[in-house]
Symmetry: C2
Subunit: 228 residues, 2 copies
DNA sequence: GATTGACTCAAACGTTTGTTTGAATTTATA
DNA sequence: TATAAATTCAAACAAACGTTTGAGTCAATC
């Protein structure tokens, strides 16, 4: 079971030339990789230490225990939620621009950065296998994200309050982005070409935006008919 | 690590009055529950045995080992993929009817059957935490499912071949259904009302169908413009 | 050169894991 | 009832787990 431990040793070294081997960071990066690939339970501290080429006890030395290492890997790999939100939350953006910003938060990590992919995968994994900190991440990262999206949608639908159907719309829009990560194994088996390479990913993002726009439009029309 | 083991003992008892305690089935059901809730690694054989009220060694007696138990729980909880597919694959169905059938495969388990929920959760978990059998399940369950959906979409879009953009459409449609399970923790925190109770779930399913229809329509229009 | 503190290391710790054992018990068959 | 098979059980097994230990190395400071 994963318990939060706060009393981990703060990093005591201030030295280090930039390219020198920094065991703390090496452990952190390796842990992120193995936790993301295998999950908290399957990734063992011995495996992490071996791959990071450090002694086992370096882990407890720097991070207290395995849970502390996980927490550190999770937190330090975390881009500020505000960064993601601001990609689509700007009131000056058109609806399409906002959606492009929203989905680029999902497709960009797939394009470029292996590290970013690992971070995202680690987060997606938490959706199915919640550890202690996941609840906290929902509060601090996901809920504000969802809320910001709701406000964007509300504005473009000219609504004066957020109702359940707006939640449904937001959920369905986000689902398409989330599925790029969660359903990755399936996609790579069934239709790998739609996420293989930047060109294909750009096209996929275009389609996501188009689909989201069509969903918003459908919701708008539905409300028109209901209110008539 | 999870390895497939084939040489498990076939159930040797043919007896049993219907309501009698059947240890094998009791183990199987408990295992399904705990594997679905906690995953393969976290659910221990001792925990399963305790909850099922059987001796530990009953597990190896009936299923060989933990992996065998997992495999049995996974397989025996498996409705035939054909059943799911036939919900939307009938060529006589209208597009809307097909989509209703498609999404009811996701919403029905949420409505009624606790067992079905566990099965689905176990499957969704495999998406993020692939065990050995997951690849097999993709081949036998998911890929045909996706293929059947592609054919339905192809027919209603009047296409003569399946291309990447059809894959994108199919993926996005399925993503909405998948998210009901994968994003369950988030939904229950952010907008629990959209999946709380059969009424809300029926509405959610209605919206999924509406959104899917709008996406298909958008794709149709896009192709029209491209071909013009 | 001595002292201090940061860091590394091989080895061991106690637990828990999945699994096996072999006798005891129950059940079916004759 | 006698015999054999099926099933249960407490106990033990080796292996792997996360963690700790204490001596050791290295670099900086006095």
């Amino acid at each position: 079971m994963l318990r939060a431990k706060v009393n981990m040793k703060a990093k005591p070294h201030l030295s280090m030339s930039p390219n020198e081997a920094q065991p703390r960071e090496k452990i952190l990066l390796t842990a992120l990789e193995l936790f993301a690939e295998q999950g908290f339970e399957r990734a063992t501290v011995r495996q992490i230490a071996r791959k990071a080429e450090v002694n086992i006890s370096a882990i407890s030395y720097y991070f207290g225990d395995k849970a502390g290492l996980y927490q550190a890997a999770f937190m330090e790999s975390l881009g500020s939620p505000k960064d993601d939100i601001e990609l689509f939350n700007d009131p000056n953006l058109s609806l399409e621009q906002a959606l492009v910003g929203l989905f680029s938060g999902f497709t960009e990590p797939l394009k470029q950065d292996k590290l970013a992919q690992l971070c995202t995968r680690l987060h997606m994994r938490e959706m199915v296998e919640p550890t202690g900190m996941w609840a906290q991440e929902i509060d601090n990262g996901i809920a504000p994200y969802h809320q910001a999206l709701l406000i964007v949608l509300k504005k473009h639908l000219n609504l004066n309050k957020i109702d359940d159907d707006l939640h449904r719309l937001a959920m369905c829009i986000v689902a398409m982005g989330v599925h790029l990560f969660v359903g990755r194994d399936v996609i790579e088996k069934v239709c790998p070409k739609i996420i293989a390479g930047n060109g294909a990913l750009n096209l996929t993002q275009e389609r996501l935006v188009m689909f989201a726009l069509s969903m918003i439009d459908a919701e708008k029309n539905r409300r028109k008919q209901v209110n008539a």
